[in-house]
């Protein structure tokens, strides 16, 4: 089968691509990687190469969306997004990429479905976010809890979830939306996500660099490692959506812990010299945004479907060291 990854140059897109190259989804026999910046080809195991095409452009352009749909991929990962901080700052760009881009793609897929005599009905895995939720919250948010986003990013994700569900209900696609916990520890440079500091306070000290903590260490949040997030995407690709019973948005399991728990885990892994590099300096903008974010979930539906969280935040740090920080500990 042909698979297409939209947003393939992003951190999670690259990890997913590499897993496919490793043969984790053996039914994929060819691959299109799409992003606004040229997606790198993965490293293939010798004698296991999959024909892979790298396409650069914007999927919000109806012609591009049409071209992507015309390849009739049987599996599509829709991962392209403007992150929360940028969508809050640049209102037009957030709506264009996060909502209208997705709707344009859905329309292109519906046109192919119709043109195929309704035989083409691709599986679509959409990466949504826990930003679809807004305060006030119950102790643990379950899959029956309302979407009341407090950011434009969250509103755009929640709206596209609804469209994915309706296009699926009508039989044009077979979609599901994964509400990923905050992916932490993100490798590389900080991005414009308001949640970036959750990674920064681990990643920077491990590299011997100071990191700003812009909120109180009592803040509780919901985390997944990049490795586990990529596993979720692989699992979703073959999940029987009939098991979702018409509710195609899934709260995925994560680790609920406070910033103080994060810091304690970092101390256990790398010592107090490392955590000493975390500088507390409140940022009122970030404090306000984060105060409206969810802290804990009841992900029992996803767990029953076979999705498993990281063990704890210490495991999340060790995964970062193994997968993304090959220099290891700064000793």
């Amino acid at each position: 089968m042909h698979a297409t990854i939209i947003g393939a140059a992003g951190m999670l897109g690259r990890k997913l691509t590499q897993r496919i190259a490793n043969g984790e989804l053996p039914h994929i026999t060819s691959l299109t990687l799409h992003d606004v910046v040229s997606p790198a080809l993965p490293d293939f195991t010798p004698n296991h190469e999959i024909p892979t095409r790298s396409v650069t452009g914007s999927y919000t352009d109806p012609e591009q969306a049409k071209a992507l749909a015309a390849e009739r991929p049987e599996l599509i990962f829709l991962m392209a997004a403007v992150v929360s901080g940028e969508a809050e700052e640049n209102f037009d760009k957030g709506w264009d990429i996060n909502l209208y881009g997705g709707l344009t793609l859905l329309e292109a897929l519906r046109a192919e479905h119709v043109a195929s005599g309704e035989s083409y009905t691709p599986k679509l895995v959409f990466t949504s976010s826990i930003a679809v939720f807004g305060a006030p919250f119950p102790d643990a948010i379950d899959d029956d809890f309302l979407c009341a986003p407090q950011t434009s990013y969250g509103a755009q994700k929640a709206m596209l979830e609804l469209a994915v569900a309706d296009y699926s209900r009508k039989g044009f696609i077979d979609g599901l939306s994964l509400r990923l916990p905050t992916v932490t520890v993100r490798p590389g440079n900080p991005n414009a996500a308001a949640s970036g500091f959750f990674s920064g306070i681990i990643r920077e000290p491990l590299a011997g660099v100071e990191a700003q903590l812009p909120v109180a260490d009592t803040v509780r949040h919901w985390f997944v490692s990049p490795r586990t997030a990529a596993e979720f995407l692989v699992k979703a690709a073959t999940l029987d959506t009939a098991l979702l019973g018409g509710r195609r948005s899934l709260n995925l399991p994560g680790v609920s812990c406070t910033v103080a728990d994060q810091i304690a885990a970092l101390t256990r892994v790398a010592g107090e010299e490392c955590t000493a590099l975390i500088v507390k300096q409140l940022d009122p903008t970030i404090v306000t945004i984060v105060s409206k974010w969810p802290q804990n979930f009841d992900a029992s539906r996803a767990i029953a479907l076979g999705f498993s969280a990281d063990k704890d935040f210490e495991s999340i740090i060790r995964i970062y060291l193994e997968d993304d920080a090959p220099q290891g500990l700064p000793l």
Copy 2:
């Protein structure tokens, strides 16, 4: 202040317009009535005429939306919609009117907000629907329950609610979404709403005409009279949205009763000869659609804000006789 009613030629739009003409919102000093068919002017009390402009066109046309916004109405009722049955039948038309039309209007209002140096921030009252909810349901749906619509109409309403909330959060408009119970007894001819029979089994027998009941009489649903629905709109026009605390979608109170309760109420009002005109004839399509509809709500948030339901279904029938069936009972 200038007020604009989009969807003014509809049944509820006309009732709202007449209430404004009666002076129920005395701060309104001029009025634009907009619809795809020419909205009729209301009857004004002598010496209490409000300058009223009737505009025919589609608000999904960006130029029309721009022209409506350019009048800078301080109050807008967004009531234009393709009803549920038609949106299910005509997928493109449903999305164009119910979602893209609303988004086009929001963008036009944001442009005026920006052009005014952010001084223009209109109040917007959007008529949403309990179709935003989908089964399985708790015993009573409260304002924390998720939107999992099982019709395109419901998906479109839920998506526009999210956009209204986000444009409001950003301060471009001051919006709220009213999830009206099913408005019953609708006067006039049947429309394409799948819920039409809830009115038909009352309206037609009262006019001495047979009416089809396409579902079992055990079906329970959630009702409001047109009179009370129009009162909700009037009340929402002056509601302080700060009281909504960032959750701008409101489940409005209604009467929860079964079709059997409806028929018993009709017998009490008009006798068994009248109810004998109800012909049970199951329609599998309607049965399926209705089986996914909500039955009962906890509307305590709206009640605390001062919204009051009809007393019972018998009252709803009597309101129909008083307001919309001037010929009275068929005796």
